[in-house]
């Protein structure tokens, strides 16, 4: 019998720590499979940020460095500058990257650091119990926006990919999701492309992935996927924002 699908060698044996149905798990698989398939695992250093994915240093089957909240891009810079032949990626939530860590991420992008950012946007602070994130949608109720996010009081959801598309150092930038099989396949292709570009030394690559947080959204895993498909993608359209390999970019 041929094996059609099995757990990636890019993941360790450690069971994932995510809640049932949380798509952090799917995204983990895509990163792991990409690194495995590209044969990069043993020259890769991953940077685990602070958020539900803090334990990712136990899950990816490569060297991993856990780092302070929001600073993954700076940590990755420190690694990559001293290991120019290594493959360096960060795995960060929206609180981590879009809120506390936006300065480090923007400047890594602006310097064109040759690293890959896996940006998992679930519109909420998952780990700390469901507080509002800068990416939370208008009207979204969270533990710190109990009346729902209000544009006047909290501002509109921040559009990371749109902003980063204005930065010269960015070589590849796509927003994907994993709410169905097609999206998962597409997301994997994006992640693989990002790592490939890094291998080729093209500069800063980032894949934003719309992800679920069933627990803090108060939804079943299935309804959570539906919310991504129907609500989140309206605010965060899925598209390629920048691709240095495609010279047609505006």
């Amino acid at each position: 019998m041929d094996i059609k699908y099995q757990k990636s060698k890019g993941l360790t044996d450690k069971p994932l720590s995510y809640c049932p149905g949380c798509t952090h798990g799917i995204i983990h698989k895509l990163v792991a499979e990409s690194l495995e398939e590209l044969g990069l695992l043993d020259r890769t250093v991953g940077v685990a940020s602070v958020g539900c994915s803090v334990f990712s240093y136990e899950f990816f089957n490569c060297d991993m460095i856990q780092c302070p909240h929001g600073r993954a891009a700076a940590v990755a810079t420190g690694i990559k500058r001293t290991h120019p032949d290594g493959i360096v990626f960060t795995y960060q939530g929206d609180g981590d990257l879009a809120s506390i860590g936006i300065a480090e991420t923007i400047h890594a992008a602006n310097r064109g650091e040759n690293i890959t950012i896996i940006f998992v946007n679930n519109a909420v602070y998952g780990m700390t119990g469901g507080q509002m994130a800068p990416t939370s949608l208008i009207g979204q109720k969270t533990t710190t926006s109990p009346m729902g996010r209000d544009a006047h009081m909290h501002g509109n959801p921040i559009h990371i990919a749109e902003m980063f598309s204005q930065i010269d150092g960015v070589a590849y930038l796509e927003r994907c999701s994993v709410f169905n099989l097609r999206q998962v396949r597409n997301a994997k292709a994006a992640i693989k492309k990002a790592f490939t570009y890094q291998k080729e030394g093209r500069g800063f690559t980032m894949v934003e992935l719309l992800s679920t947080c069933p627990v803090n959204w108060g939804k079943t895993p299935q309804d959570a996927l539906k919310w991504v498909e129907e609500d989140m993608t309206k605010v965060f359209p899925l598209k390629v924002f920048k691709d240095a390999g495609v010279e047609t970019h505006e």
Binding site: S17, Y18, P20, V54, G126, M127, T128
Partner: protein, 187 residues
């Protein structure tokens, strides 16, 4: 009641362990006793087991931690395993016999097997398993007036969940009945 009672409540996340403990603390406060509720707030992520400690006392409570519990309520096997050795000899242990089929030896003066899930399911809502257990606990320990407990329940459910009041009360009653009718226990 003793001058001070140390209670440990433990189970899966989602089994209503924290609320169980808080109800005891609220009830104690309402009856003008001293109470302290301490959650073991786990990893920032979900899953795994959850537990809390409650101390109810007639005088101000000092240490918020205790070596051994006077009462242990275990909603699942991992919890029973974790705390079985941390119960006073003359303590009381209640365990959820719907999930714990083989509890093993427990050295406490009273051990009650409460089929909380089964009873809750028979009442039509698995969510009230913790109230079945609470009923049994209140009955076997003799703590708090029924009116106090009912009042607290009302407060905690609030208006939004007021419609759940009857089934919760029924669950508590069912739990009490189990004890009255001699739920399987050994001494």
């Amino acid at each position: 009641m003793n001058d001070s009672v140390n209670i440990k409540v433990a189970g899966f996340g989602g089994q209503g362990v924290m609320m169980f403990g808080q109800m005891l603390a609220y009830a104690a406060t309402e009856e003008e006793l001293f109470a302290l509720w301490v959650p073991s707030y786990g990893p920032e992520t979900r899953g795994g087991t959850a537990n809390c400690s409650v101390i109810v006392a007639k005088k101000p409570i000092n240490s918020p931690v205790f070596q051994k519990a006077d009462r242990l309520v275990a909603f699942n096997l991992p919890s029973l395993e974790k705390f079985r050795d941390k119960v006073e000899k003359n303590g009381i242990v209640l365990y959820n016999s719907s999930l714990i089929k083989e509890p093993g030896a427990i050295s406490a003066s009273t051990v009650l097997a409460v089929p909380a899930n089964d009873v809750a399911l028979s009442l039509g809502n698995i969510q009230v398993a913790n109230m079945v257990m609470l009923g049994a606990f209140l009955e076997v320990t003799g703590m708090f007036l029924p009116a106090t407990v009912e009042h607290i329940l009302q407060k905690l459910l609030g208006e939004r969940k007021a419609h759940l009041m009857p089934i919760n009360l029924a669950a508590i009653a069912a739990g009490r009945d189990l004890v009255k009718n001699g739920a399987s226990s050994h001494a």
